[in-house]
Symmetry: C2
């Protein structure tokens, strides 16, 4: 599959843009640990999505960002023209620790660094991007990045507990401007004040996004679109090394698929299939530390695992 | 569907026997409360299974067991010839309270009463039962009840944390004698010492049961048979009133289906379909207090919900 289509006799490739954090992570888990590894929501997203379509990356790192991380990002169908290496700034850093069952994690240390400075700039060459994922960022920044684009075909965003709590008005304004929202179950409950997940989902629908995905970690995810609902389990595996980035890889697999087939804004069936790609992308991420599970991943490997997943979910 | 088959020119109906607790429950939940309602694993199981096939109930209650509860049990394709109303004894009683999100429950009071006296007796007319569910009981009692049967075609059991902890040897002996085991995720982890659920499942397989179902509450269940795996979400509903008995209703729906089609011991596909019936049976149970969601339930209602469930799980 390659996102080609013919417009006025010319082959055109769909362009998927992602903005979000690119960071340096350290992780402690029962399975081992990694120090100063490539991380950040946009990095996971881009490395997952690029298996299915070209990706444009918009973000900022500091002058401490290792060259080898830049090489990982730019060598794999990712256009890093929107990745600013800001001199005199430091890269976002996160250090987390997972519990014995991998279901809880504690942030041991976080340094936002460049993330709290001015936002990144969308290059003019990226303005025509049709598919857009606004990874976790302050809603105001997400909106200003969206303003820098011409007329995207499909805009999807993520958010987090911090902005639900502290930037609620901005978030509600953003939700009216996006086609889709991808959040986790605790965020869905926090955003709506509803404990029942289906009630929460219906309440979020009324806030704007036509397509809503609620991620439940090891328990999979729920897609709710205008008329349809899909509940999908996670790919069951004995090898869970590091869950960091699973959610962003999921979003990358999903959006990469949507862009690859030039999905229309209203195509609910495409989202159902996209959920499979997202689930499989996340399953590769958690089997290694950092982005290692995504390096070397290609569409063939994804398709083989999709077959395995399908045999797990069809009664 | 009715579990008819022809043997030597005569229609024969499969007989599904269940042994387990029949009790009087009180429940406090964010949705309300019930006092002195019909409960117990065998009651939920029988009322779920009887929508699909005739059920034989084996258990004991005390002389305080209300006549109206007996009427509920015996009026609905359930043969209560094995239900002993023991004079001078008291019925098992349980009082539990659910947390705000319904995912945790605390036992406020439990009186085992008749359950710690001598076990119930399997009537001679029940000895030819082909499908058997040994609901939660001490493993030694489960085995002695099994010894009272001629040659069942399919034997499935449940257990609980107490027996995994205190009757491990007996439980391991029982597991070698059953075709299937239905337990919840925390019990699977406790039984094996493994935190990864798939690793736990593979370890339990080696203990004996060919068919293993791990229940994950609101997150659905996992079926692992000899060669196959199926991960199924729970039926997504906004109306969750009282989760008590969901697991036993699940087992009732599953076993009721297996008996209704005269499933062979080795029929893995039947278990996959049965999981759908179990999931749907559980979904009716949780929508009301006590067994109210199962009273009035019939195969048509189950089939309509199965259609809804199928539309939720097919990508």
């Amino acid at each position: 599959m390659w996102p080609l289509r013919v417009i006025s006799g010319v082959f055109v490739v769909s362009q998927l843009l992602v903005t979000g954090s690119i960071g340096i992570d350290s992780v402690d888990a029962p399975t081992g640990s990694c120090r100063d590894c490539l991380g950040g929501s946009a990095a996971y997203f881009a490395l997952a999505a690029r298996t299915l379509c070209p990706v444009r990356l918009v973000g900022a790192v500091g002058d401490d960002f290792p060259d080898e991380f830049l090489d990982v990002l730019k060598s794999r169908n990712i256009d890093i023209a929107g990745l600013e290496v800001r001199q005199g700034s430091k890269t976002f850093r996160w250090h987390g620790k997972y519990s014995d069952d991998m279901n809880d994690r504690t942030t041991l240390d976080v340094k936002l660094n460049v993330l709290v400075e001015r936002g990144p700039v969308v290059p003019d060459t990226f303005r025509d991007s049709e598919y857009v994922f606004l990874a976790n960022n302050p809603p105001e920044l997400q909106m200003s990045l969206l303003d820098a684009l011409d007329s995207p075909k499909l805009v999807v965003c993520d958010t987090m507990d911090l902005y639900i709590e502290n930037s609620r008005d901005g978030l509600l304004e953003l939700l009216k401007r996006v086609d889709g929202l991808i959040i986790n179950d605790s965020e869905a409950r926090q955003l709506t004040g509803e404990t029942n997940l289906l009630t929460a989902i219906r309440a979020i629908h009324k806030m704007g996004p036509r397509h809503l995905v609620v991620k439940k970690g090891e328990h999979g995810c729920i897609l709710c679109t205008g008329r349809q609902m899909l509940v999908l389990p996670a790919f069951l595996t004995e090898k869970v090394v590091d869950p960091t980035g699973a959610g962003d890889s999921f979003a990358g697999g999903l959006m990469g698929y949507l862009a690859s087939i030039n999905a229309d804004r209203d195509d609910e069936d495409a989202w159902r299939t996209g959920l499979i790609y997202g689930t499989v992308a996340a399953s590769f991420t958690i089997q290694s530390f950092s982005v290692d599970g995504l390096i070397g991943l290609d569409e063939e490997k994804m398709k083989r695992r999709i077959e395995e997943l399908n045999s797990m979910i069809k009664p």
